[in-house]
């Protein structure tokens, strides 16, 4: 095998318009297995829209999405998740009154098709509960497992976002600003967790802090006005003149 790795997620000239505004413009992406890619771009570049298109929250006007070679463009959000394409949300999208243990157990049960069983108690699904607990433990939430989600510190809620996604056993994980709202010193710790995710999961994350992007991304995709301006290694992005002009020049603080 050469250094050309297996492509797990691919989009083919994905486009979307909101009225007259082209929010996604013929985007071609290819995520290899186990990658750690960053998606960057100025505000309004269409980063979240692109994730919404890939995961099915939005329908593209044209273009296709392939997961492991299968065309998933017409599939529902939940069907994509069951096929191994999962996301997290920029704004916490959790279950406030459930405990992390309950929420992650639910995600495991959904994955195994057991969530519709109403004739036996939850405690009968011992393996699912164990797996949920191990997942929480692996990202450092074991101590918070049985507290209601709404009582958790914000940083732990961000971790729970990731734990919920992990419980779906994703092949591809799209993280929409996983450290949004987290203080800078804590966000590095959060990205250590992301870097330590199983090496066969392909990760694409949106992040504004360029220090973190350069530290944790093996490759960077620069999105401007809905289109891919550049996809390159961190070093190349750092020195690219166009990126400096359209992105780094505008309100970037290092």
């Amino acid at each position: 095998m050469t250094d050309q790795k297996e492509i797990v997620l691919r989009t083919d000239s994905l486009s979307k318009k909101f009225g007259a505004l082209q929010v996604t413009n013929a985007v071609r992406l290819a995520l290899p297995r186990g990658c750690r890619y960053a998606l960057i771009g100025p505000n309004g570049a269409g980063k979240t829209t692109l994730i919404n298109l890939i995961t099915g929250q939005l329908k593209p006007d044209s273009g296709s999405i392939f997961l492991g070679g299968d065309d998933i463009t017409g599939k529902s959000v939940s069907a994509r998740v069951r096929a191994g394409l999962t996301r997290t949300f920029q704004i916490n999208t959790l279950f406030p009154d459930l405990t992390p243990l309950e929420a992650v157990t639910l995600a495991v049960c959904e994955r195994e098709g057991k969530a519709g069983q109403f004739w036996q108690p939850l405690s009968a699904h011992g393996a699912a509960i164990d797996e949920a607990f191990e997942t929480l433990k692996s990202i450092g939430l074991a101590a918070a497992a049985t507290r209601p989600t709404r009582t958790l510190p914000y940083g732990q809620q961000r971790l729970l976002e990731i734990a919920l996604a992990l419980a779906t056993k994703p092949r591809v994980l799209l993280l929409d600003e996983p450290a949004a709202g987290v203080p800078k010193d804590e966000s590095a710790a959060l990205f250590e967790v992301i870097a330590a995710l199983p090496s066969d999961i392909s990760v694409l994350f949106i992040e504004h802090d360029m220090d973190i992007v350069f530290k944790f991304a093996s490759r960077i995709i620069v999105l401007v006005a809905g289109g891919v301006l550049l996809e390159a290694d961190p070093e190349e992005v750092r020195t690219d003149q166009r990126v400096r002009e359209v992105y780094l020049g505008k309100g970037h603080h290092v």
Binding site: S78, F118, W119, T146
Partner: protein
């Protein structure tokens, strides 16, 4: 103590913690034993006690969708009424055996529930209220128009129900009626309790807590909602059938909007999303109606309205929610 346990939490405590959530408490056992008291203490109120058990079962069916899955409805009397007419018409056709009649009514209401669920799961909030309200009104008017079948405004006289197990005759005092309705309520309660403590119950709580997240964890939540709506409709149908079988008459008001609204009032009074709220709410509502109507038959609903406002303003989780907060204040600290 809780803190210490969480700190060295392991898989075993995780399992145990989840198991503890569904354990029977002594309060629950006392509560159910107390429901037997009317047999000994208030035998003259047994017909009222039967009405309460029927209303509690109806409220329980609504709690499953409103309290657990977050589906608001203003038309659930539709299923209550369909169950009542199904049992009554089966009896009129010559089959007055209570348990098969009950089953027939439940299956019929559940079937209609399943068919309408396709519409229900596609809408939310105000649209959901209007759809359920519309379906309820539609059914009422349909029953009114089909007076050759339903007796229209005159109502239906239902042949006397045969003895249960061919042994317990329905007596004038209501001993059998209350025993029968209470037993059906208890069985449905046990099933509901199992359901809300299952993985399916967890999925329903997930839908109520954050419906937007459900697809993102791979949940086909429309199917969950259809399932619980069907189960709830069937249970409401059982309640209606109990009314038809124990009172030997069915009038159009089994389908009325008032019945749909009253059941919501009962649930809000008792507290939603805790099963017992349905029973406590039904007791409060019907005992208050019985007592207040004796004092002032025309204005009894005024007091219900007042009580409702007090509860909503000062006990947002209902009377049971208020009591459990008082009892649990020490634990939560």
């Amino acid at each position: 103590m809780n803190q210490a346990m969480s700190a060295n939490a392991n898989v075993d405590t995780a399992r145990q913690w989840l198991k503890r959530q569904s354990r029977w408490s002594p309060f629950e056992i006392v509560f159910w034993l107390a429901l037997l008291l009317p047999f000994f203490l208030f035998p003259t109120y047994l017909p009222l006690a039967s009405q309460i058990a029927i209303a509690a079962l109806f409220a329980l069916s609504v709690d499953l969708i409103l309290g657990y899955a977050g589906i608001i409805t203003l038309g659930h009397a539709m299923f209550f009424g369909l169950g009542a007419y199904a049992a009554a018409l089966l009896a009129k056709a010559g089959w007055s055996e209570p348990l098969t009649g009950l089953l027939f009514a439940g299956v019929f209401a559940g079937l209609i529930g399943f068919i309408t669920s396709f519409m229900i799961v596609r809408v939310q909030h105000l649209a959901l209220l209007m759809i359920t309200l519309g379906l309820g009104v539609l059914t009422l008017e349909l029953a009114n128009a089909m007076s050759w079948l339903t007796g229209g405004t005159d109502g239906l006289r239902v042949p006397r129900t045969w003895p249960i197990f061919n042994y317990f005759r329905f007596d004038l005092w209501g001993y059998t009626s209350y025993g029968y309705t209470l037993a059906v309520l208890f069985i449905c309660f046990l099933l509901s309790r199992l359901l809300v403590n299952s993985s399916f119950g967890l999925a329903l709580r997930g839908i109520r807590e954050n419906v937007k997240r459900m697809p993102a964890i791979g949940s086909d939540h429309h199917r969950h909602l259809q399932k619980i709506y069907t189960i709830s409709a069937a249970m409401a149908g059982l309640a209606g059938a109990l009314l038809a079988q124990t009172t030997s008459t069915v009038a159009l008001d089994v389908l009325s909007f008032t019945r749909s609204a009253d059941v919501i009032v009962m649930l809000v009074l008792g507290g939603t999303g805790r099963l017992y709220g349905a029973i406590v709410g039904a007791i409060i509502f019907l005992v208050a109606r019985d007592q207040l109507a004796g004092i002032n038959p025309q204005y009894w609903y005024f007091w219900i309205g007042l009580l409702l406002m007090v509860v909503v303003l000062f006990m947002p989780k209902g009377i049971l929610g208020f009591l459990s907060r008082l009892a649990g204040r020490r634990d939560n600290d």
